[in-house]
Symmetry: D2
């Protein structure tokens, strides 16, 4: 079985990575590439590495064209732009995987506070499925609209899910110190993203005000069954790809051997790897893969959990393809191992 | 007034940086360079950037030579090596600034646990002054032996001193998430320090077991007047120089406007700069300088403090020269601004 | 059809890249991994990124084991080591692709001069086929032993082949200014390969004495039908992967539109891409791929040719798999696009 | 003696570096900082590293203000902008050191071809002195207007001057393969200068069309006494600072021991260092200094010369201060060693 897939936002980082992954997928034909701003042009002019591998032309998104040529559409668009397209595509009876934040937060007020824009599609928001396979695989199977998680959120939620779901930690104590490579920032032409500003530098940004905070809190709250809040400080690393999150929590009770508990929690998961005691993840082991590596350090009163992912793969396009594989009953690791 | 200064360990990172700073010092003549292992050789053969600026020959340390040619000796040596030299030099009536850890921890058992070696010089350890000018300037003035602080320790202690000294925080709650450039690791020929291992990578190491932990705890304990412990996770950044520490603490009571409080605490300090509210330090602003930049984010219950230093200057050789300036009553910023 | 493939030297850079490529190959089963020095150990302990994808154990090479389990063996070994293994494996009737320099130079004296060792296998050297598919595909098809080209050599030979083969340039005038990422240097634990030595640095090395010079000259001489010599200066770039060679030659005669001539020369080649006039290659377009990109700037008297490859793929393991595809009549781009 | 110095263009890279150097100069008071576009603001808000060291306000350039407060003005401005200011300042009787290209090319037609703008100040162009101290020290001493050389030009001219001045090489044969760090490109907000575009990449640009070509040719022509042309290909290195030029020439005659000849040529020069035979420059030895390091490899027919400088110091602001020292008879190395 082969499906026809379109990408809106094909010229951004997540679009580029999606093309890269899908070109290796035996059950997918990339049928259409769209972007919202430029004149039609060959994708291989934007990304010369695709020359000789993908010669599709990228044009403005058109609903008739989508109706005729796509079974599924990936929205690799900026936040607040996706919700202009998703309802129209869903109305055509097509499936949608949205890589923006538009369908991640069920609470519209919180969305509007953190994304500084009105939400325009409450109807579909209600039915959107949060696309972390490790937690919501059953729902993803039946989903028409998947809200693909944020990169920081993926790294934090996978690291915390066992502790939170099993009620092992003080829910007021979660501190997430996260560090991301530059590709997490998208393709904006900003002074702060110039080589001379980033290279040989390191800094925190959006200190405890980042828009992934409410995303993390809301999913952890769902897992815990009661309100969970987090402290969250993201930092910018002078490198291309990867997120490493160092997470500090206080335990309640006297659990021990958390590494074993994590191994059980994730035992059938193809993309979560738990480190042996005393070993911790590093970016090099996950960049270029769809894996999330997790290491745990447990003391009497507290736990340190460190997780690492490729922000563009498990943190975005890789996880999006994993979700697609689940929706279409393809083997979940297809094109991702 | 000009003093004659010797450096033992001149060919390491901190030795190199010491030479670089002292060459600009109008009251210092670098009279002797020593290292412990190699044949005599010109320092400009090891560091070609000194060609035409410093043509001293580096030879094995010799006490008679020191007696005749040095007023002060910097020990830029590995931990557990300094204590072989300090007592002999002090016996000559010369002053010593030790950049290793050998005289930082008053508790010999703790030293031996973290540095895996017997301490050989309890006598001088007792009188050694911990060289953070912002806290112990009066003692440094009269010191014969200064224990120059560790790089991580400097960044953490300066960031926490006001909160701890004024009793504003829960002393069990301190979490220090620190990130250092590679020069912090010294010049070892180790697989983990190869370009291909470090570049485009990021990882934690010595998770909550690093030897600077007891150093930080012991100084904070002295400041607090009661036992303080810290959680400490260092990480390796793919860049040359700089430490940025992101520190999380829980408040007790309802203080506000901590930035002002920090400004008061450090108001006469030439090398501590407090950021305006909403601004945070970055490595680029401090690398190449002796400054420590500090930014503060305060919430109802907790505080996030971020500090940045150049690990080889304020974190090592710069602070050592600052201590020397104090000991000899030179203007404190000489050669450092 | 599926073949069983062994790799000797699986824990080096080219071994790692070979595993990575071959895991994607539908007609290959990696049946055995060997390395020459260590105790048996899981390959995923050396390269944690393979955890969950390849759990083979790496052990000392054993001829009986090879006889029973491999159709083809890749030698991903240091120079002068391969020739200890190749003759034994060939005697078993197995095919060999050697990624070292041991079978590249037909002239044994030149080999011994540049590699400082006696050649031990003149017999097989005679029949070894130099593995640049674009020039020697017909021979590779029938080869038992392929000498896989050097990384610098591949980038220079592909850039110069049309000009040299068609007799368009002064054969005394070739200057190759080449720049390589650090992975070209292999995995040695050398001071010059430490992060602090390479990062933010750039330097030439082996100025006009590098061992790839005679390899390039000998192949160009074969193409020209008369003696060709080259000036060759390699440089070390502060990055992981990629070689960019800037090549200067003087024309004889008045050719024009060399870009067209290059396009014709390489018109059926799946992995050579010629840039439009005024456009030049960059590393980002080829790193992670098996492509060689070439750009040309032509003046009245001289030509500048710039080529770019991934040193570990088209410059080593990718080209090795391309050669294997040709030897076994698999589609030539399998696992490489 | 202390002079009052103004900088127009204080917020660019060369402005920043000028401030940094001049703050260490005992005979200079930075009296005024100007920039052409923004509202008045403290320089330490633009460059936080100057906080506590330089608190001047940067405002629009004003001739009356300059008349009252400056003895010398540095123009750290983009090409074609300097010539709007230089004539006015010179008319006030003040001295000018221009870091742009506006006064480097005596041939106005060549200027206009390479800089795409009319030249507006032919009068002062005639008397401007090209500011390479090693070649034109006597003229610099008496100069009112110094045209500070381009960064690539400095690296190429110092490397070639002995060979060209002594008539040892074929003047048609000069090939300059130059590699520069990103700070050479100025502070433009361009896609090509984003971290994600530069990091882990390497590419040539302006292949044989760069605007420093005619500057190099014209100075070499002056030195040779007859027309010299050069082939010049610049490349972009993924690092902050430094230019390394690898230069290929054909000899005429049979000179030998060129290293000695270079040592004689530059024997009284404080900032040119000639490498021993078999040793070659690297960026790390010169970055952060005003030195130009030169290494030479001589064969029967050809010579390879490699030179390295810090593009912002010897290639711009350092050399500008060296010129100032000469103009005011300060010791030439003041603030530069």
């Amino acid at each position: 079985m082969t499906i026809n897939v379109g990408i809106i936002g094909a010229t951004g980082h997540t679009g580029e990575e999606l093309i890269s992954v899908l070109l290796k997928h035996p059950n997918v034909r990339i049928s259409r590439l769209y972007n919202t701003s430029d004149e039609p042009h060959k994708i291989s002019d934007v990304f010369p590495q695709f020359k000789g591998r993908c010669e599709l032309v990228c044009s403005k998104p058109d609903m008739k064209d989508i109706a005729n040529h796509c079974d599924l559409v990936f929205l690799a668009l900026p936040h607040t732009v996706s919700m202009n397209f998703a309802p129209k595509i869903l109305k055509l009876g097509k499936k949608v995987i949205d890589l923006s934040a538009d369908y991640r937060l069920k609470n519209i007020k919180v969305f509007e506070k953190f994304y500084h824009a009105k939400h325009k599609d409450a109807a579909n928001l209600r039915n959107a499925v949060y696309g972390i396979p490790e937690l919501y695989r059953a729902n993803i199977k039946k989903a028409k609209l998947v809200a693909n998680p944020g990169c920081y959120s993926t790294s934090a939620i996978l690291a915390l899910a066992p502790l939170v779901a099993l009620g092992l930690i003080d829910k007021e104590s979660i501190i997430i110190d996260a560090k991301s490579g530059v590709s997490g920032a998208g393709k904006k032409l900003e002074k702060g993203l110039l080589f001379l500003e980033v290279n040989e530098d390191f800094r925190a940004y959006k200190v405890n005000t980042h828009q992934h905070m409410p995303e993390i809190s809301s999913i952890l709250t769902r897992l815990a069954g009661k309100s969970v809040s987090v402290t969250f400080v993201p930092h910018l690393l002078p490198l291309q790809k990867g997120i490493l999150s160092t997470i500090y929590v206080r335990k309640i009770g006297r659990t021990q051997n958390l590494a074993n508990l994590y191994k059980k929690f994730y035992k059938n998961e193809p993309f979560v790897r738990i480190k042996k005691e005393g070993e911790f993840p590093r970016l090099k082991d996950v960049v270029g893969t769809n894996f999330c590596d997790i290491g745990i350090k447990e003391d009497t009163k507290s736990v340190i959990v460190i997780s690492a992912i490729d922000n563009l793969l498990k943190g975005a396009s890789g996880q999006a393809v994993q979700n697609m594989n689940i929706m279409y009953k393809f083997p979940e690791t297809t094109a991702l191992l």
